[in-house]
Amino acid sequence: MSEQTTSTAAPVSTSGGGADLHIVDVTKRFGSFKAVDDLTLTIPAGSFFALLGPSGCGKTTTLRMVAGLEEPSAGRIVIGNEDVTHKKPYKRPVNTVFQSYALFPHLDIFENVAFGLRRSGSKDVRNEVEAMLELVELSTYARRKPTQLSGGQQQRVAVARALINKPEVLLLDEPLGALDLKLRRQMQIELKRIQTDVGITFVHVTHDQEEAMTMADTIAVMNAGQVEQMGAPMELYENPVTTFVANFLGQSNLIKGELTGKTGGDASLLVQGQRMAMPTARVHSERDEVWVGVRPEKMQISRAGTAVEGENSMAGVVTDASYIGVSTQYLVKLPWGQEVSIFSQNLSTEGPLGAGEDVVLHWNPAHTFALDASQDADAGAEKVEGDE
């Protein structure tokens, strides 16, 4: 069979596709365990949406309910205008890229990719498959078996096999989890490019915050079956609303403080006897007891005695300095015993400050955020890297 006919192959549709995906009040129980707890999400058509969370947070279960591989205990799932809550997987306009690809080992690459088209009775299977293999740059591998391909190639076959059916929604379940770091970065860019090309709604499940931030335009951070916060990557990182998000997405320094007043757009704080300011819009607490949060790279570190006008500041002693080239990571002990971390760019020509030096930490009030102090300051901090 000739594989050289791809030049005549019809191009894969690049017109915008996809439909809104609504998850409405969905709960999934396994025995007494609630994997997904009254979840409501709307994912707009054509977006690249990431469900981010630690293992066991319910993100994969949510995805499987959308695919039809699990049935919700309560609630509804609507794609476009169609309620698919209790539909069989093969009657839904969605396709899935499985975590370990789940390629059919007894079929070659061509037949793997053609599987969905053959079921839906497409007339031009051959040209469509060839065009799709071209898109993922695997034309020459059409007659190989999955086991004869590398991990990255198998991953692309899995994407092609799902994408060729032009689903309204493409579901990706930790699609890059089995790849090594370098290949993963490469595939992230690749997937993002494909999504932009085909314009289908992508829902991407991952525990890797960097992966979610690189690829998605909207991220929902999930914890214990619920969405903690949803928004653009920058919004989530710069302005987290819960301690879980503050810790799970990057790192945060959280210091006990008290809200003392709000005047116009500004709020004033009392932190260990020291007055500080911040924008009211970044206060995410009903109570006056708050965690005052600052990202480590937003804090600046200077020798004690440096004047810092118009900035929030506090004194401390350096307990550890790790020089890592692009930056130096400091641990600074505050007078009440708490340690905070600071990522400092190596702009000084004198080299980093040493352990034991008295310093002053200061930051722009606009970088401060305040969270409800009843939340666990360590929530989401214990991330497990690697595969689930």
């Binding site: 039809g68 093969y90 370990s100 789940a102 079921r119």
Partner: protein, 290 residues
């Protein structure tokens, strides 16, 4: 106080103990240690195949007396005349007929049982698993005699023969089929079936296109196993056969008055057929790959 890389290397080499080539005994010792496994493997294979080679060899013999135990003279007479002996021919025919029926029935039933046990959770699954295992664990003599008792109790004593042998064979073959197919089902990734359903295949199509083709090698292996077990069985057959004579029974009976070389020919043929069945798919696979 900088030194070049070459100087550094010189210093490092000087600090090492002097290099010595290993002596003859050291090398011999090492050769034996690295090749010991191969030696034992070759020995084990020889041990396994020597009897088969003897069978094949003596199929070309012309026995001097009644017994085909001593090498006398090379001849292909037994091979050309193998089907001229009516007794051998009818015994082989009966054995093949029984084996075919027993294999077909036990593979169908066994595969269905394997799917039930391997794929579904139901009350009494553990107990059934154990029951399936029983025929394999029971000594054949015990099973053969109990079967005879059963047939006699059921007043089938007069009609012992093809039917009773086949039923007995189906019974013990099923166990082996279930165990073999179940292992294959257990190794099947259920996500493959989910992926098929996700790609618009309904339950039936998923089974036909994914599940069945992936379990098929296990079913084929089970069928080969069942066939050879049935063809080969003597003990249970002897109890349940009545007047019928299968090939193993013929060989057993002939043993007292001297087994003809034709029996060796049948044995050699069975071995060759088994070899072909196992090797041909491998060869086809290799050829396709290139």
């Amino acid at each position: 106080m900088t030194i070049t890389i070459e100087e550094r290397r010189e210093q490092a080499l000087a600090a090492l103990p002097p290099h010595r080539e290993p002596g003859f005994w050291a090398r011999t010792n090492r050769w034996i240690r690295t090749h010991l496994v191969q030696f034992f493997a070759a020995f084990a294979l020889l041990f396994m195949f020597l009897p088969v080679m003897i069978v094949v060899l003596f199929s070309f013999n012309v026995p001097a007396g009644r017994f085909n135990y001593n090498w006398n003279q090379f001849s292909t007479i037994a091979w050309t005349n193998v089907w001229s002996d009516d007794q051998i021919t009818s015994a082989v025919k009966l054995s093949i007929e029984i084996a075919l029926v027993a294999t077909t029935v036990s593979v169908v039933l066994g595969t269905l049982i394997a799917f039930a046990i391997g794929r579904h959770n139901f009350r009494g699954r553990g107990g059934i698993n154990l029951l399936i295992f029983m025929p394999m664990a029971t000594p054949e003599v015990v099973m053969g005699s109990s079967l005879l008792t059963l047939f006699v109790t059921a007043q089938l004593e007069g009609s012992l023969g093809f039917g009773t042998i086949t039923v007995a064979h189906i019974m013990f073959c099923i166990s082996f089929v279930v165990v073999t197919v179940k292992a294959r089902i257990a190794g099947l990734d259920s996500r493959l079936e989910q992926a098929a359903m996700d790609l618009y295949a309904d339950e039936r199509t998923t089974f036909m296109k994914i599940t069945f083709p992936l379990v098929l090698p296990g079913i084929v292996a089970a069928a080969l196993l069942a066939f050879s077990l049935s063809f080969d069985d003597f003990v249970i057959t002897n109890f349940t056969s009545g007047q019928a004579v299968t090939f193993p029974m013929f060989v057993w009976g002939a043993n007292t008055r001297g087994i003809p070389p034709e029996a060796n020919v049948v044995g050699a043929l069975m071995f060759i057929i088994a070899l072909v069945v196992v090797l041909v798919p491998e060869v086809v696979k290799r050829v396709r790959k290139n």
